[in-house]
């Protein structure tokens, strides 16, 4: 009989899957990007809106429930919903396309990226939110993005600092070379003087 590795058992034990708020979008992102995502992409709570934890419906105060009701009625774009269960990106989606369009896109989640504003970059990491949605990276985390895209953008942004650091390193090494060469010459000169003295006064 095959023995299951205790490590696999442990991983299975701890890896309890979360219930996703919008499984169509979740499935599309995972398939398209090859990255695992959770509800924290659009929601406050990474386990989704259902439950009693922070950012979940069961945890909301009466005032927040009222806000939630208003946000759920934001069927048209531009109604500035402030849903307490959605994060900035989630509210941004509903504000950009409206709740009705969002519900329609459940049948074609790949279309969501095309409907989002092209120039919107909520975390200012240089990668548009629509691209981050397709890549499965978080649109509100500056440090999360495709490494190559982040590299290109950050290189452009920090070019001056990189040039200054390169210059400082080159100048530092140049100075050190002369300092150490000078030190070595001085030590050798002292040694030669000592040898000469020994020869003259054995």
């Amino acid at each position: 009989m095959m023995r299951t590795s205790p490590i696999i058992l442990l991983v299975l034990f701890v890896a309890t899957p979360a219930l996703h708020a919008n499984p169509e979008f979740h499935r599309f992102i995972v398939k398209n990007s090859g990255r695992s995502v959770d509800c924290a992409l659009c929601h406050v709570n990474r386990d989704g809106p259902e439950g009693t934890g922070p950012g979940q419906v069961g945890h909301l105060t009466p005032a927040e429930l009222e806000k939630l009701g208003r946000a759920r009625a934001a069927l048209a774009p531009g109604m500035k919903p402030e849903s307490p269960i959605l994060n900035l990106f989630g509210n941004h989606i509903i504000n950009s396309i409206g709740k009705q369009k969002f519900a329609e896109l459940r049948l074609a989640p790949e279309q969501l990226a095309k409907t989002l504003p092209k120039d919107s970059d909520l975390d200012h990491d240089g990668i548009p939110d629509a691209q981050e949605y397709l890549d499965g990276t978080h649109p509100l985390m500056k440090s999360d993005g495709r490494p190559w895209l982040l590299f290109k953008n950050n290189l452009r942004t920090n070019l001056l600092q990189i040039l200054l650091a390169t210059g400082a390193t080159v100048i530092g090494l140049f100075g050190l070379r002369h300092l150490l060469n000078g030190f070595a010459i001085a030590v050798n000169t002292d040694e030669n003087d000592e040898d000469e003295n020994k020869e003259q006064h054995p």
Partner: protein
């Protein structure tokens, strides 16, 4: 053998490895020469590992000003460093990149030293301290991984500690209880929690740095006393002075490494290679994201562990450890060509398992 003879043998053994007459500036620096040949690049890797360790100390000290080693505040303090402390993201990123680069440098250093047969008499102590340094470096990685207290950190640590406990089932009698006792000692409580974090923090910032400093002291003293080993069978056509010629070249390598680190630290967040849910704060009641695995430098043992029987991998680890420690005696008569082939084979295995370990795992397990 009489006691007097035994003492004399020990004295002569230690005297050959640590010759007092060579412990002076002239022998260790001024007159020291470095052979120049096709494998000379290997001489710079050890220095590079040292440089990366120095970077780790400096960046680690800076992180210490803000890091809070408590389960309630650890993740928030790391986020605070990254989001709000001026230059905090850069320092933390350099610390992460340098840790990976240091482990890579130490592994390459071990392989090149092995290939060059640089452990031969009288350099056995240099080799053994090097093997211990490799182990300590891995422990640095393992203990440091837990400190940010996010999902991947805690869950990967749980798996690592569980592995220690599993060894017990293959040990006889009273020995079988030892791994569990070791695991509980490291863990400090029933599950990975505050006691574990406190212990890992103490290990990471005090015990391991002191251990590495002591080992590094002996290692470097030994290197300076005996000089660089010839490295190749044929006599080197040329030698260069250690000071200042080789030392300056070493500094240039350090300069390039600094620039690479600076650019990586500034432009590529280390965490961008992983899915973001892995870096959410650890919540024992919440769901666990997919993709929990150890750092890349443990893949060479992690994926085989997932594919093969546990006892086989543990036995392999014990044999590998014993062979590494006894290398100066096991391979004392092996020629350098064979050593190079062995080192290349080991290097290929490490690269393949690191880059394609996951693919290999899916190939066999579906």
């Amino acid at each position: 053998m009489s006691v007097k003879e035994a003492i004399k043998n020990v004295e002569s053994y230690v005297g050959e490895r640590f010759p007092v007459e060579k412990m002076n500036y002239a022998s260790m620096v001024q007159k020291k020469e470095v052979p120049v040949h096709q494998l000379s690049w290997g001489y710079y890797i050890g220095g590079l590992a040292l440089f990366l360790f120095i970077v780790q100390i400096f960046t680690g000290l800076m992180l210490l000003f803000y890091y809070q080693p408590t389960v309630s505040d650890a993740h928030a303090s790391v986020e605070y460093i990254t989001e709000h402390v001026p230059g905090g993201a850069l320092v933390r990123n350099i610390h992460s990149w340098a840790s990976s680069m240091m482990i890579a440098a130490v592994m390459i250093h071990l392989l090149t030293t092995f290939a060059m047969k640089a452990f031969a008499r009288p350099r056995e102590i240099t080799w053994i301290t090097g093997v211990v340094l490799l182990g300590v470096t891995f422990m640095f990685g393992f203990t440091g991984y837990l400190l940010p207290w996010h999902q991947i950190a805690v869950n990967a640590t749980k798996i690592g500690l569980q592995t220690i406990e599993e060894i017990g089932q293959y040990l006889p009698g009273e020995l079988a209880t030892w791994p569990r006792a070791i695991k509980e000692t490291i863990q400090g409580e029933a599950s990975v929690g505050q006691a574990t974090l406190s212990r890992f923090f103490a290990l990471h910032v005090i015990i391991l740095p002191l251990s590495i400093a002591a080992m590094l002291g002996i290692h470097l003293l030994s290197v300076q006393l005996h000089g660089m080993s010839a490295g190749v069978d044929e006599a080197p056509k040329r030698k260069e002075k250690f000071f200042p010629t080789f030392f300056l070249k070493d500094l240039k390598v350090w300069g390039v490494a600094f620039l690479v680190l600076f650019i990586l630290g500034l432009c590529v967040p280390f965490e961008s290679f992983f899915a973001y849910p892995l870096f959410s704060p650890f919540d024992p009641k919440g769901s666990t994201p997919d993709g929990i695995k150890p750092e890349w430098y443990f893949f060479w043992v992690y994926y085989p562990l997932e594919l093969l029987p546990f006892w086989m991998i543990m036995l392999g680890q014990v044999v590998l450890g014993a062979v590494l420690v006894a290398t100066p005696w096991i391979f004392q008569n092996t020629n350098r060509r064979a050593m190079r082939l062995l080192a290349v084979a080991a290097g290929i295995y490490l690269i393949v398992m690191t880059l394609f370990g996951e693919n290999i795992y899916h190939l066999f397990k579906g």
